[in-house]
Symmetry: C2
Subunit: 355 residues, 2 copies
DNA sequence: ATGAAAGCGCTAACAA
DNA sequence: TTGTTAGCGCTTTCAT
């Protein structure tokens, strides 16, 4: 019955076990330094008192918090949920706990949050951060930083490989006969956006597809709404959206406007609200390709063709890298996980069809 | 140029300002106890050195961490994203930082996480926790607890008011002529589930609607898939799903099976994969009602009729309650926010129609 | 209004 | 193998 209202300290355990506090500390942290029998007794007493070392005191003397921070642009964006889950799941079985923060896609908020976190953690995982290189360097000088989807010489970064997915997407669309397509771009200062655009551009050039740039749009469903109308005016037959949310927004708006997706020409059914006739290759509808493979992408009607990203591998790699940097005893993460694990790939579903 | 590699301590500031450490501490924490001019000088020196009090040391002496924990069943469930965001947004402007954890809808994990968190926080916000009353009491005895969507005598709880929404849903469905409906239940030990069922049951009884219980199903999209087939076998004309995810799963599966939603009878088009004919009132299709109003509910085709929950008000109230309990100086949260703010309401969209 | 000193709970030299 | 001692950086009596 150790129902003491106030928490047991290391001294309470020590005196109950008839040893000094240092011995208790050793029994707990460096078992090999203490006599087996003594250790057993200490552990038993600790157990009996429900002893839990005071973390503030440990942090103070050790100079480490055993917390890690995780900053993402938007929790509500379904792309980040599995990322967060992956990181949390990884650290669940370690001595580390994780602080999560959401920047609301705002760079200033991101900087403020990073600065607030630095005080309370041993390391910071920055997922797709938008802050400047200078800022990043400032943060990295104060704590251990691991980057996901952002390059930098300042800190190790785990990156997806967009090339295969984007290439497959263009090949697919090309095979369906599309020759003039649009890219709906996302945040201008985002590494992901630049990557997507780059590989898309290269693959299109290679295959003789004309690529029109539209945007930037906010990387959400609402952004896709706005994009949809601009797409209709751009005289293309297929669009590559920055991500699934935008793609879904486009799909929804297009459906509402009566534009068929993908382009199965509906004879005699012109596009309402789009009075200019004579625009070639358009009344046939549009094909749409997203990126991310968020859960809802497979639930729409028609389901979305999209470039899937191995988020779980990404988050696990980021977490493992951080862990190995903070705790030399940790299972050391390979400097970079096998490229194949981080490769994107095309998932062909219902929103792409022949011109 | 105070580019010192090692962080400035309170002593560094003290000696730079020519005062004692206690004065620096007072200048920072109890301005009224120190001479205005001295204070100005101290603050300037602190600024110059980029001084940031060591949190571990403060925690140790103060006995408070200035962290709060937040535990939710599933980050990936779009219902919780705004909740989390609300809590994070609230604490963003306070001295508190928040730890987030995801239980994966698992009670054992929930308990473990709560116990791990207790060590590192001053208070714990438990969103829709499933742990037993006994466990809850154990946790609450170790730290300040605020509950969201879970009743308890142990700790203050913020609850949504499901009555109006459920009542409106039943009235709506009744007006459309439905007389035999199903409830697709969620987690058995969830307060939300019991509430939904209760008000649904009462409203149906009142209006002479027969309510069939199905499930429980896991509260996700996949759960709805399984539910859909059982619904078809249950000979009902409308279903109330535990939440939107389940509703969307049902919708998707039904669409795939060729069952029209809502029930606009498609003449001469029988339900494939459902060989038994002669079942009355079914080939006409089904009406579906969800709960939550997650973002994707408005994006499907047809968009989902659902009972919307004011999550932002809920999370804000929970955060404010916690804040006022931890910090007497905080804007004191009303014991309970105005009921109207927490009331659910029906959003009629496309998945409900006449029998 | 300010300084000196004690101590929060723990770990790690150093001694024994 | 174990105990003694000295701090980690801060706040807070208690003096002055």
């Amino acid at each position: 019955m150790s129902t003491d209202s106030t928490r047991a300290s290391i001294r309470a355990v020590a005196s109950l076990a008839g040893v000094s506090p240092s011995t208790v500390s050793r029994a707990l942290n460096s078992p090999e330094l203490v006599n087996a029998e003594t250790r057993r007794r200490v552990l038993e007493c600790a157990e009996r008192l429900g002893y839990q070392p005071n973390r503030a005191a440990q942090s103070l003397v050790l100079g480490r918090t055993r917390n890690v921070g995780l900053i993402v642009p938007d929790i509500a964006n379904p792309f980040f949920a599995p990322f967060i889950k992956g990181v949390e799941a990884y650290f669940r079985d370690t001595e580390f706990a994780v602080f999560l923060a959401d920047t609301d896609e705002d760079t200033a908020t991101e900087v403020r949050l990073a600065e607030a976190m630095v005080e309370r953690v041993d390391g910071l995982i920055l997922c797709a951060p938008r802050m400047s290189g200078t800022r990043l360097r400032a943060v990295a000088s104060k704590t251990t930083v691991v980057l996901a989807n952002r390059t930098s010489r300042t800190a190790p970064s785990i990156l997806q490989d967009f090339q295969p997915g984007m290439d497959q997407a263009v090949a697919h669309v090309h095979a369906l006969g599309h020759r003039r397509c649009a890219y709906l771009s996302g945040p201008a200062n985002s590494w992901s956006n630049r990557q997507r655009r780059k590989f898309l551009g290269a693959a299109c050039a290679e295959r003789g597809i004309e690529l029109v740039d539209l945007g930037p749009y906010e990387p959400r469903f609402a952004g896709g709404f706005r994009a949809a109308d601009e797409v209709l005016a751009a005289d293309v037959t297929a669009v590559f959206a920055y991500n699934d949310l935008v793609a879904l927004g486009v799909l929804s708006r297009l459906t509402a406007r009566g534009v068929p997706v993908p382009g199965k020409p509906v004879p005699g059914k012109p596009v309402p609200g789009k009075p200019e006739p004579g625009v070639p290759g358009e009344s046939g509808g549009l094909s749409i390709v997203g990126v991310d493979d968020v859960p809802m992408a497979s639930m729409t009607n028609p389901p979305l063709t999209t470039v899937a990203i191995p988020v779980a591998a990404l988050s696990r790699a980021a977490a493992a890298t951080m862990h190995s940097m903070l705790d030399p005893g940790a299972p050391k993460a390979p400097p970079l996980p096998p490229a194949a694990e981080l490769a994107t790939r095309l998932l062909i579903r219902g929103t792409t069809g022949p011109v």
